[in-house]
Amino acid sequence: MLTFILRRAALIVPTFIGVTLLAFALIHLIPGDPVENLSGERGMDPARRARLLHEFGLDRPLPIQYADYVGQVLRGDLGTSLTTHEPVLREFLTLFPATMELAFFAMLFAVTVGLPAGIIAALKRNTVADYAVMGVSLTGYSMPIFWWALLLILFFSVQLGWTPVSGRIAVEFDVPTSTGFMLLDALRAGDAGAFRSAVSHLLLPTIVLGTIPLAVIARMTRSSMLEVLREDYVRTARAKGLPHWQVVLVHALRNALIPVITVIGLQVGLLLSGAILTETIFSWPGVGNWLVHGVQSRDYPVVQGGILLIATIVISVNLIVDLLYGVINPRIRHG
């Protein structure tokens, strides 16, 4: 088991080096150099330009610059935002809990709805229920979620006035930040009004971000269940006279879940992609929104640092999923 973990973990080193190369290249591939971009429209006299280039270390050979960059990254120094003059890492860490809170509830929504829907579709194969689940999930899978968000806002916020349009909590509440997760912070503060407000702000973004994973999970669960239900051990369980629910939930579902869990793990990248759009629409103060602003305001340290950090998260989560999969399925471990 230990060799499996080590072997699998060693594989991410080249990937991580590649990601730092990409983030490093980003700054050097943009048209004009960073100094030129700092100077803006008016331009800069050559002497000052040369001095600044030297100051930033940009006049040295690229491999040395890259080594320096990796050194800085490993020390946790990701540069300073050009717009807020805050360290990029600190900004990211302040905003990341908001993204995590949103992603967590989106996933929870996707699993609690998608899993039963997939099971029902598989059990009632080729009935109206099956077609409905499959139709809805295909639509969800093809959904431009930024438009879906607008439709939900139009209906629930504008027409019915049930949910707020943007932000994490209403302005009148002042919840002290301790965990960075608004729901937990409101609970800890014991402020029921703030908690309700935070929940109502979370509802629509959760549905929007959870839609595509929901569709994927429902489809995957259905096909995986259909496969397992044909297995001999399921027939044996039925032949033993076990009740229907026990055959389905204990014998079939547990085995059908293995591929589904992998798919859930692989949704993390998708969730973060979706978070960029969802956060932008709902003005959710997370890292996706921050990154889009970074690109729009040409704040390159933010873009560079953000890409590096998000990629690191995705790589780590994929590693954890792989390891868990090895724990569940010995064939992978020894393969």
Binding site: P14, V19, L138, T139, P144, F146, W147, I276, V295, V303
Partner: protein, 300 residues
């Protein structure tokens, strides 16, 4: 040798039969037929936009800004789906937008498919250090969420429709490389490849003429699904202001332009999104149908 030539000459005669057989399999799924029908309609709209669209996509009818669709109170048959905040006909913009979306899909898939097939063939055929380098690079690209990678590329190249296409082509690339490599490794071990090599075929001929055609099925399916990803990502980039720039009638940027009018005139938001959804859905339906028809092993 003459026997080989004779067998080779027989192959084209079998093609219509294969096609008919394929259509028989494809027709099994009602969804797939709906998908291909929708795509035909979209292609006709895109090609005939100049004739079909009632107005120019850029002409501003200043006397009727935010006119509602024909079935609303105050709607007129002149603007069937209403007009946008500066008085442009939404239906005409959507029809021209179909042209853009299909073009985006076609160009990004063409770039990434051709590049991906070449890289995948090299990785799967040459193996060794070359393979490791290519595949690790693809792993890096896959470790970034697709939209994030596209945004990174746009951050380098600058916003715009053409750069968005490049960005999407880069995002799609790893899928084709992995698929081609896996298929090539599986095929290269087979006897027909060995016999072709013994007959004196060079590496290029082996890669492109012998192996590649036998890897086509999964690539065709992936290319179709790539179309829907490309259209969706291009619309997302347009929506974020990083793709097509106004006044281009691109569906995503149409949505972004209309955002502030969502309360007063919901139709400026509803129709462009519906157009994206229908198009993406059509390609996904076709992709699913193709997968079932081309690859019985993957059948649900």
């Amino acid at each position: 040798m003459s026997e080989v030539v004779a067998i080779a000459a027989d192959v084209p005669a079998a093609v219509p039969g294969t096609l008919r057989e394929f259509w028989q399999a494809y027709r099994q799924s009602r969804g797939a037929v709906v998908g291909i029908a929708l795509i035909v309609v979209l292609v006709v709209l895109a090609l005939g936009a100049n004739v079909i669209a009632p107005h120019s996509p850029y002409e501003q009818f200043r006397e009727s800004t935010l006119a509602p669709p024909v079935w609303h109170d105050g709607g007129s048959a002149r603007f069937i789906l209403g007009t946008d905040p500066v008085g442009r006909d939404i239906l005409s913009r959507l029809i021209y937008g179909a042209r853009l979306s299909l073009l985006i899909g076609m160009i990004s898939v063409a770039i990434s498919l051709s590049l991906g097939v070449v890289l995948g063939l090299i990785a799967g055929y040459v193996r060794g250090l070359t393979e490791t380098t290519i595949m690790r690079l693809m792993d890096v690209m896959l470790s970034l969420p697709s939209l994030l990678l596209a945004i990174a590329v746009v951050a380098i190249l600058g916003p715009g429709l053409i750069n968005a296409m490049y960005a999407i082509a880069i995002v799609l690339l790893p899928h084709y490389v992995r698929l081609t490599r896996a298929a090539v490794i599986a095929e290269a071990a087979k006897e027909y490849v060995a016999s072709s090599r013994i007959a004196g075929a060079g590496p290029l001929r082996l890669m492109f003429n012998t192996i590649l055609p036998n890897c086509a099925a999964p690539l065709i399916v992936q290319a179709t699904l790539g179309f829907s990803n490309a259209i969706l990502d291009a619309a997302a980039l347009g929506f974020l202001g990083l793709g097509a720039q106004p006044p281009t009638p691109e569906w995503g940027s149409m949505l972004a332009d209309a955002l502030e009018f969502i309360q007063r005139a919901s139709w400026v938001v509803t129709f462009p999104g519906l157009a994206i959804l229908i198009t993406v859905l059509a390609f996904n339906l076709m992709g699913d149908g193709l997968r079932d028809a081309l690859d019985p092993k993957l059948k649900r």
